[in-house]
């Protein structure tokens, strides 16, 4: 009976082919020897992994970010040419143009750039630490916590550059510690932290609603405008604290990156490799919270950037974890691009950037969920 026999072989062939496919998609690194190359220097005695694709991607992303940054500076009520913008940036050219670029448009673009980087890096830190793509700061309530604190500041009358930043930091920190403490039960498993975070996020949102309702009409208006994630009317007062925070926190995040990767192998393996798990985790948590807090205080809670940017960067780089630098650049690209779309989509009105990132980012969230469920890692 040759017929059934051949049928059987085909089926087993199919099965093995499918399992091969599955293993390839589950661990892209195993198939990716072309993606990376180890190097070892005799002097100074360092070794590491060189990933051409990741480096190339970062360069492309940086170039794209620069183009969008300048493009953002050219558009507005008073259009300025690309070359004029570049010339105004270095301080030469028509004084009027320099004024418009440096006083009105540059703060906005800088807040977009820096906040985007901060969102992306923070998301990458959290997603790597919890080993869960859904555990980004905007899903587990940190953004909402910062939002509640900032709105409390606006409504109760502590508005203004540094006040807002400090309040955002405080809110995010308190929320992070609350979520961590509530989700703790002999370690924090990935999904408990998300669901607890969602509960906390809901409480924070209610508190914000309460404050908005309690506040006067003008304060409520200001709070609402801020709550969607908005780059309109940013000033140098918002750029300063954000830039200082990034100058401290970004190098920390990069230094933590290597430790983060050992942490991703699981606590036991990480301990075996000599990583002091708890201090490292605390450091990552604080860095991630700081980044998200300062970004949120300056730009408002721009929806889904921290969730989507690291995942996009990871897919583009073909790595098994969200790469830190590329995530930050993707975040900046998303925020600046979103702001451009928001400004030019409907002429006359300026949509907040958070609307655009929300509408574009939401399907990414659903897709991540479908993937997690398919892989069987969900719940």
């Amino acid at each position: 009976m040759p017929q059934p026999k051949s049928d059987l072989t085909t089926r087993s062939d199919l099965k093995s082919a499918r399992s091969e496919l599955k293993s390839a998609s589950a661990a892209p690194r195993s198939a990716g020897s072309a993606h990376h190359r180890t190097y070892r220097l005799v002097f100074p005695p360092v070794s590491g992994v060189f990933r051409p694709r990741l480096v190339a991607l970062s360069v492309v992303l940086a170039a794209g970010t620069f183009v969008l940054f300048c493009w953002g500076l050219t558009t507005g009520d008073y259009p300025i040419g690309f070359t004029d913008v570049v010339r105004a940036l270095v301080g030469s050219g028509d004084p009027g143009t320099v004024l418009v670029v440096e006083e009105l448009r540059l703060p906005r673009a800088l807040v977009g750039l820096l906040a985007g980087i901060a969102f992306g890096v923070s998301g990458a830190l959290f997603q790597t630490m919890t080993r869960n793509p859904l555990a980004s700061p905007d899903m587990i309530g940190l953004t909402q916590g910062a939002g509640t604190a900032v709105v409390a500041g606006i409504v109760l009358g502590w508005d203004g550059g540094l006040g807002t930043q400090a309040l955002g930091l405080l809110g995010a920190l308190v929320t992070a510690l609350t979520v961590y403490a509530l989700a703790w039960r002999r370690g924090t498993t990935g999904y408990r932290i998300i669901l607890v975070g969602i509960g906390v996020a809901w409480i924070c949102t209610s508190a914000t609603d309460y404050l908005v309702a309690k506040g006067g009409r003008f304060q409520a208006q200001a709070a609402l405008g801020w709550l969607v994630g908005n780059l309109n009317g940013r000033t140098w007062g918002q750029v300063g604290p954000l830039a200082v925070a990034l100058a401290v926190l970004l190098p920390t995040a990069l230094l933590l990156g290597r430790l983060l990767r050992t942490l991703q192998l699981g606590d036991d393996v990480a301990t075996g490799l000599g990583t002091r798990v708890q201090p490292v985790r605390l450091a990552i948590l604080l860095t991630g919270v700081g980044l998200i807090a300062f970004a949120t205080a300056s730009a408002g809670p721009v929806a889904f950037v921290a969730l989507a940017a690291p995942q996009i960067a990871q897919r583009l780089a073909g790595t098994a974890w969200p790469p830190t630098v590329a995530s930050g650049l993707t975040g900046a690209l998303v925020v600046l691009g979103g702001d451009l779309i928001a400004r030019t989509l409907i002429s006359g009105t300026e949509l907040p950037v958070g609307i655009v990132t929300g509408v574009l980012g939401a399907p990414v969230l659903l897709w991540l969920l479908v993937r997690a469920n398919r892989a069987g890692s969900g719940g």
């Binding site: 999904y191 607890v196 809901w202 309460y210 949509l351 469920n373």
Partner: protein, 340 residues
């Protein structure tokens, strides 16, 4: 036999009294407080002044009636969802059904310009139904089947997505923004006289369907296979359940906005009370109990919201979420998120 009957009777009397007291308070308290005796005389058509008559009949009674009906609808929908999915985290708010209805309503009002309740309530039903099916499919993906956590995550993902879309519509329309802000948090303040009557038919049909499901839900609690072997037609039960959830949530959201967590908390309280009264987890009791407890919670939140932030009001939904959020976290923290 008598000893077994007394405690349920006591429970029903107790809840009825609490609800009656809350109704009276809801009629009496607010921007202008009216003494209870004047409220009662106004109810019997002999108000001490025109002002009292006006406040009670044209503002407070519609509002209280709306709280009673919409609250009961959401509580019933929550209990039904928890029983159907055997999932302790199920709630019209958490599983995206309210968000679906809300998005559809905003779409109808903001984009298509439909302003009558009978115009957009159909959109609410459609949105609720689509969101229910989407979350159900999304949560059931994968080998481990539909676990409580997966279903809740799917619901929250769908909710976030719909929320973004809703925001995009609302923020392009400045006029709609203010009205939407109040409605979106879940509020009874917009109640007018005809509102309750207009949604009542949908709510009655939904409630009847839900209660008709109760015996079958008791079998379903033993597992799909056992329920089927007991002669329950699972497809029919699910269909009726989803229809009831759609009607109840869609109509409630259309009038009071998406209130989150009401349907989550109430069935758990009902279960505890039923246990204490010696009834046990019998859906024929749990569903009506939830329908009574939910208005108690919603009215209490509404009354509190009128008092804490005078002269403005806090939306009832905000206060319900304040209570419901910690409850949700406590549920998640339970050692094993067992199926109900």
């Amino acid at each position: 036999m008598t000893g077994k009957r007394v405690r349920p009777v006591l429970l029903v009397t107790l809840l009825g009294t609490v609800l009656a007291v809350l109704c009276l308070l809801s009629l009496a308290l607010g921007a202008a407080n009216i003494p209870p005796d004047q409220v009662i005389s106004a109810l019997f058509g002999d108000a001490p002044s025109r002002f009292v008559d006006n406040v009670v009949w044209s503002a407070r009674i519609p509002r209280t009636a709306l709280g009673l009906t919409a609250g009961a609808a959401l509580g019933l929908a929550g209990a039904l969802m928890q029983a159907l999915t055997r999932n302790p985290l199920a709630d019209p708010g958490v599983l995206g059904v309210s968000a679906g209805a809300a998005f559809a309503i905003v779409l109808a009002v903001g984009v298509l310009g439909i302003n009558s309740l009978y115009g957009y309530v159909w959109f609410a039903f459609g949105g609720a139904l689509i969101a229910t099916v989407a979350v159900y499919l999304l949560g059931g993906l994968g080998r481990s089947g539909m676990t409580p956590v997966k279903l809740a995550l799917a619901g929250i993902a769908v909710t976030s997505m719909l929320w973004s879309f809703t925001q995009a519509i609302v923020l392009t329309d400045v006029d709609a923004l203010n009205k939407y802000r109040f409605w979106s948090a879940g509020s009874l303040a917009e109640a007018d006289n005809g509102m309750v009557w207009r949604v009542l038919p949908f709510l009655v049909i939904g409630a009847a369907l839900a209660l008709a499901c109760a015996p079958a839900l008791n079998s379903l609690a033993l597992g799909d296979d056992v329920a089927a072997s007991l002669g329950r037609r699972l497809g029919l039960v699910r269909l009726a359940g989803v229809a009831a959830i759609t009607l109840l949530t869609g109509a409630a959201v259309a009038v009071i906005g998406p209130v989150v967590f009401l349907g989550l908390v109430v069935p758990h309280v009902a279960r505890v009370l039923a246990q204490a009264a010696g009834i046990g987890p019998d859906q024929r009791w749990l569903l009506p109990l939830s329908a009574v407890l939910a208005p108690i919670l919603l009215l209490a939140a509404d009354i509190l919201g009128r008092l804490v932030a005078r002269p403005t009001e806090i939306q009832a939904g905000v206060l319900v979420a304040f209570i419901g959020g910690p409850f949700f976290i406590a549920m998640v923290r339970r050692r094993n998120l067992a199926e109900v």
